[in-house]
Symmetry: D2
Subunit: 344 residues, 4 copies
C-alpha cells in the first residue's frame, strides 16, 4: 500500500481523485488539503463520500511526506512550489495545466505569462497512457491532461496514427461540455437560472487546450470551438478533418479497431441499429472510458471523428490515476473499473 495525499481536494477534480483513491486496492489516503474548508469533513463538500471517510481537510503547510502526491490546484499554483512538492513525495501527479506543455514559449503564448519553473517542464510526462504508455513506466512526474484536449486527441489519434488524415488542411474540433468543467467556484454565468438550458459557444476559438492538441498530435492547423450545454459531467468532441484521397471507411475501421484493441479504456461505438450508435457522454458519468466513433463522407473526404468522455474522469482524475498505475507497473485498470450507468 502506497500512501497518497491530495492537494486541493475540495475542487471537483480533487474530489473525484479522492473517490478513486479511496477505492483503489493499492493506495491509501493520508492527507487532503483545502485552505477554504480546513477542519471540515470532506463529506461536507463531497457528499457522495459520507460514510466512506472521516478525513478532514488540512492546510497544505501540514503536509507530511508520502509516496504519491496529487496536486489539484488552480492553474498556475503548482509550478510556484514544485521544488517543495517534489521533496514531499516520490511520485508527483499534477492535474493542473502547469506541466502539460513541453515548450516554455508555448506555455507563455497560451497562458499569458512566463512559466515559473521552465526547467521542470521536460521532467513531466503527459499523462495520457494511450499516447505515452512507454514514457510513463517508471515516471516520477506525471502531468494531468486537459479534458477538451483529451477528447479531441483521442477522437482523431487513431486516424492520424494510421496516416489517413491530411494534416495540411485545417482540423476543427467542435466540443460540447458540461458545467463541471468550469470548476467548483461560482461565477455569474454559472447561476442555475442562467446556466440551465444553454447552448452557449463561449469560446469560438483560442481555447488553451488547443496547445495540448497541437503538441500531442503534432498539428499546427487545429481549431477548438467550445460550446456549453445543459449537463454537469461530460465532454463530447466532434472533430472535422479531411482524409487523404482514396481513404475509405474500411481504412478507418481498421485504424480505430486497432486503437481500441490496444487500449483498455478506449471503446469504438459505431452501430447500425439501436439507440446508442455513436459515442455519448451521457452513459460515461463516473467511467474512465473514452468512447470513440467516426463517420466518413467518402464523396468529400470529410471525416467526422468523435470522442465522448467524462471530463472529470478520463478528462482529469481517471487518466491521472491510470497514468500512475502505469508508472508503478500495476494493472492499468486498477481502481478504475466502474463502467458507467444505463440509463442515466
Amino acid at each position: 500500500m502506497l500512501r497518497v495525499s491530495i492537494v486541493g481536494a475540495s475542487g471537483y477534480t480533487g474530489g473525484e481523485l479522492l473517490r478513486l483513491v479511496l477505492d483503489h486496492p493499492q493506495l491509501q489516503v493520508h492527507q487532503v488539503t483545502s485552505r477554504r474548508y480546513v477542519g471540515q469533513y470532506v463529506y461536507q463538500i463531497h457528499p457522495n463520500l459520507r460514510k466512506r471517510t472521516r478525513l478532514k481537510f488540512t492546510t497544505p503547510e501540514a503536509l507530511e511526506p508520502v509516496d504519491v502526491l496529487f496536486l489539484a490546484l488552480p492553474h498556475g499554483e503548482a509550478q510556484k512550489n514544485i521544488e517543495r512538492w517534489a521533496e514531499l513525495a516520490t511520485y508527483i501527479v499534477d492535474l493542473s495545466a502547469d506541466f502539460r506543455l513541453r515548450d516554455p514559449a508555448a506555455y507563455e503564448r497560451w497562458y499569458g505569462q512566463p512559466h515559473a519553473a521552465p526547467a521542470w517542464l521536460s521532467k513531466f510526462v503527459y499523462g495520457l497512457p494511450e499516447l505515452h504508455r512507454q514514457d510513463l513506466r517508471g515516471a516520477r512526474f506525471i502531468s494531468g491532461v486537459g479534458c477538451n484536449a483529451t477528447a479531441t486527441i483521442l477522437a482523431l489519434w487513431p486516424a492520424l496514427q494510421a496516416g489517413l488524415v491530411d494534416t495540411q488542411r485545417p482540423i476543427i474540433a467542435d466540443i460540447k461540455v458540461g458545467s463541471s468543467e468550469g470548476g467548483a467556484s461560482p461565477n455569474p454565468g454559472s447561476h442555475h437560472p442562467e446556466r440551465a438550458n444553454v447552448v452557449r459557444t463561449y469560446a469560438p476559438f483560442g481555447h488553451r487546450h488547443t496547445a495540448e492538441v497541437m503538441q500531442e498530435l503534432g498539428l499546427t492547423d487545429v481549431h477548438l470551438t467550445m460550446t456549453s450545454v445543459d449537463m454537469v459531467r461530460g465532454a463530447m468532441a466532434t472533430v472535422h478533418a479531411w482524409t487523404h484521397p482514396g481513404v475509405t471507411e474500411k481504412d478507418l475501421w481498421r485504424a480505430y479497431r486497432q486503437a481500441v484493441n490496444e487500449n483498455p479504456f478506449l471503446r469504438l461505438v459505431k452501430e447500425r441499429r439501436g439507440i446508442y450508435r455513436v459515442p455519448d457522454p451521457k452513459i460515461l458519468a463516473g467511467s474512465n472510458y473514452a468512447d470513440l466513433g467516426f463517420a466518413l463522407d467518402e464523396a468529400h473526404g470529410h471525416l467526422v471523428a468523435m470522442a465522448a468522455i467524462d471530463n472529470l474522469m478520463k478528462g482529469a482524475a481517471g487518466s491521472a490515476l491510470q497514468s500512475l498505475n502505469v508508472a508503478l507497473g500495476w494493472e492499468e485498470t486498477l481502481g478504475l473499473t466502474f463502467p458507467g450507468l444505463h440509463p442515466i
Copy 2:
C-alpha cells in the same frame, strides 16, 4: 396611455414586469432602475428584450413622477421609503413581501423584525384578483403575492370556498419549485453543477409564504414544505387536505368548475386520457394561467388539490399586472394573453 416606472428592474421579477409592460397596450415605460447596472441597456441583463427597447437602467434617485410605480426590490426595502414612493405615483404596486400581511404582529413573527411602516399595511390590497377583485377596483396600493402562496391558495381555494374541506385537520402543501424563485443573485447552492438535477427539500417547514396562505384562506393549521427541482420557472403545489364526511368528487367538480368559470386565468385540468391530465408548470412558462386540478380518495376523504403556475408570472409579475388592470377598470387580461408553449 399611463406612464410606468419599475424600481429594481434588473431582478427576475422586475425583468418579467418590464417585458409585460412593454407589450401592454395602455402602458408606457418611463424609467427602470437598478443600482448595480446603472447606465447599462436593459437588454444586456434581460437578453430577451434586445431590439425591444433601448432603455437604460437609472438610479432610484433619478425617478420622476409617473402614473404607476412598480416596486421590485428585495424584501424589506420598499417599506423603508414607502412615503417617498407614494409621492412619486398615483398607483403603487409592490412586488416584495413588505405589504402582503395585514397584521404587523404576523409580519414581525414571520419576518423576524418589526415592520417599518405598519400604518401602511392596511392601505394595501393583496394582489390576487381571484380573491380580491372587488377590493382591487380603484385601489391605489397593491401588494404583490408570494409565488408559493399563490399556488397553494389557488389549489385549495375553490374547495374551501365551497365548504368542502375540514379546516380542523392539518393541511399540507408540498410544493416543487424552480431555481428562478431564488432570484438573480447567485449563492453557493445555485452554482449549476450543484443545483442541476436536485430534488432538494430545502424548507421542510416554516416557509414565510405560509403566513400569506393563513391570512388569505383563514387557516391556522397549514404547513408548506418546499422542494427544489431541476427547472428554472415554475411552481407546483400538491396540497393534501381532508374533506368533510360525505363530500364526493362531484361536489369538487362543481366547486372547481365554478372557480374557473368566474376567473379568466384559472383553468381546470382533469382529464381521463392524453398526456396532460393534471396541472403541470411545464407548459406555463410566460403564461399567467394557474392550472388547477384535484383528486379525491373518497374512501379516506383525502383531497389532493393541485395548482401549477409560472412563479414569475401568476406568482409575481403577471398577478401584479392583472391586479393593476382591475384597479384601473381595464379588461383584466390586457397584456397578459400569451398562452404558454407546447412542447417546451
Copy 3:
C-alpha cells in the same frame, strides 16, 4: 379578417401555427385537421391552448374553402394532393420539405424518390423573408423552411452577402438541436430515459437540410453535422468558414449590422461582458427572433458564424407566418411579437 385552416394540426409545427394564428389580429381559424385525433379538442393535444379555443380536430376530407391553408403534414404528403389543396385556398403555405427545393433532381437525390408534382416546385417561394422578401410579396404559394437550414443560412448569410467568405473552401455547420425537431411521434430513441442528457451526433453528414443550404446560399461545399442535446426547443448553428485574405472583424461587424438593421427578426449578439455574449436558443422559446453572432480568428481566417433560433418558430411556424404577412402586404411582425423569456 382572413379565414385560415391548418392541415396536420396535431403535430408540433401545426400546434405552434395554431397558437400564432389564434393571436393574429388579421387571421381567424376556421378548421384544423388531424386524422389521429378527430373529434378531440385541440387543447387535449396542445394543452397550452386550453381556454383559448373550443375547436376540435376534423378530417382533411371535411375541409372547406378558406383564404389561407397551412399544410403541416409529414414530408411527402403535401405533394401528393397539391392540386386539391390549391383549389381549397387562395394562399397555400406548406411547412413540410415538399416544396423547398427548386430542382426536381436535387429533390430526388436528397429525398430518395422522384417528386410527385415537380411542375409545382417552381411556383413556390422559399419562405425565408430575409432572403426572399421581394419574391414573397403577393406570392400565393409559400414553402416553409427547414429549421437546421434556417439556422445555418442565417448564421452565414450576412458574411456571404458581403463577399467576405471564401466559398472555395469547405464550410462546416455543427448544429445542436432539441428533441422537438424529431416531431410528435415517439421513436425508441425519444424515450425520456434514453433521450435525456444526451450529446448525440446522430447525423455526422448527409442531413437533408444540407440541400436547402446549398440552394439558398449557392454553396456546393457545405456540410451539416447534427447533434442532439438535452433541450426541447432550439437549434444552434455553429458554422465554420474561412474568410478571404485580409478580411477583418470590422468587415464582419459591418456585414452583420447591416443584416440585423434591415430585418426585424434578426438580432446581433456580440457582447464583451455580461452573461449573454453570444447567441443562445435558451432565451428564444416562443420567439421568432434569430440571434446571430460571429467570431473571427484573424490569424487563420477562421470565421465562426452563429445563429440561434427556436426551431418551431423561426425554424418553422414563425417564418411561415412571417412570410404570409409579407405575401399579404401586412406588417411583417404582425402576430409575432412575443420576445421570449428570461430566465428560462
Copy 4:
C-alpha cells in the same frame, strides 16, 4: 463462485443487476434472457457494458440450472411459472411485485386480479435487509422491493421503530421520481418533448406501492402521492407524519442515528451548513445508499421524514443483491461499494 442467470435482462432493473453481478467478486453471470433482443449483445441495449461482456441475450426457454436466478420480468409474469423457476436454481430473487405482499387478498385488492401462486407468497422474504436481515439469512426465495415503497419505508422506519410517530393520524408520502421508474418501454407520455421539464402528479393516490408500505410498517392510514420530475434516476420521499406529544428533535436524532449506525447503506444527512444539508437523489446515481433526513416542527408535532435513493439501486437491483449477500452469509456490502458521484 456461484453461477447466476438473469431473466428479463434487457429492462432497466435487469441491466442494473447485470452491471452489479459482473463486478461482484463471488458471482459469475451464466445466461441473460430477453425475448425481444434474442441473439443481440447485451451491450447493444446496455451501452455502459460494452467491453465488459460479450454475453448475448438468450430465450427464457434456453435457461440452464444455476445457483441463483434473478427474475426481472414485468409484473405478473414471475408468478405464472414460479414452479419452473424454482427448479432451475437454488436461490430465486424476483424483482417484480409478484411476491412482495404476504396476503393474497391484499395482492388481489391492489393488483386487480387473484394471485396465480398464492401458496408461494409466504415462502418469500421481502428483500429489504434493514427490516428483514434475520429472515434473509439462509432464505432461498427473496422478493425485490418497490422503489417508492423503499423510499417511504426507510424515511419513516427509524421514527416508527422508536415509537415516536402517532400512527392513528394519517401519514402522507409525497414522492418525486425520475423517468426510469416507468421502465424501458416507451409510452406516449415518455416521449422526450412531453416528458422533459415536467412536474406531473400522475398518481395523487392509490399507487400500488402503498400496499408494501402498509405491510412493512404495519400502517393502515398511509397515502402515497407520486409526482414525476425531470430526472432519469432517483426517488425522493418527503413523508409527512405527526409525532406523539412531547417528542423532540433530540428523540429523532437518537432514532435516526441508531438506524444509520446499524445499517451499512443508510446515511443520515442533516447539516446546518453547506450545500447538501438534506437527502438528495442527485448524488446517488449508481449508489446503494439510502440517504435519510428529518425535520420536526415541534410546535405542531409535524415530522417531515425524508429518504433519497437511486430507484434502480436501493429501490431495485441494489437491495436485491444486498439481500442475496445476506442470504448467502456474505459481507452485506459485497459488490455494492460504488459511492455515487459529485458533482453530477
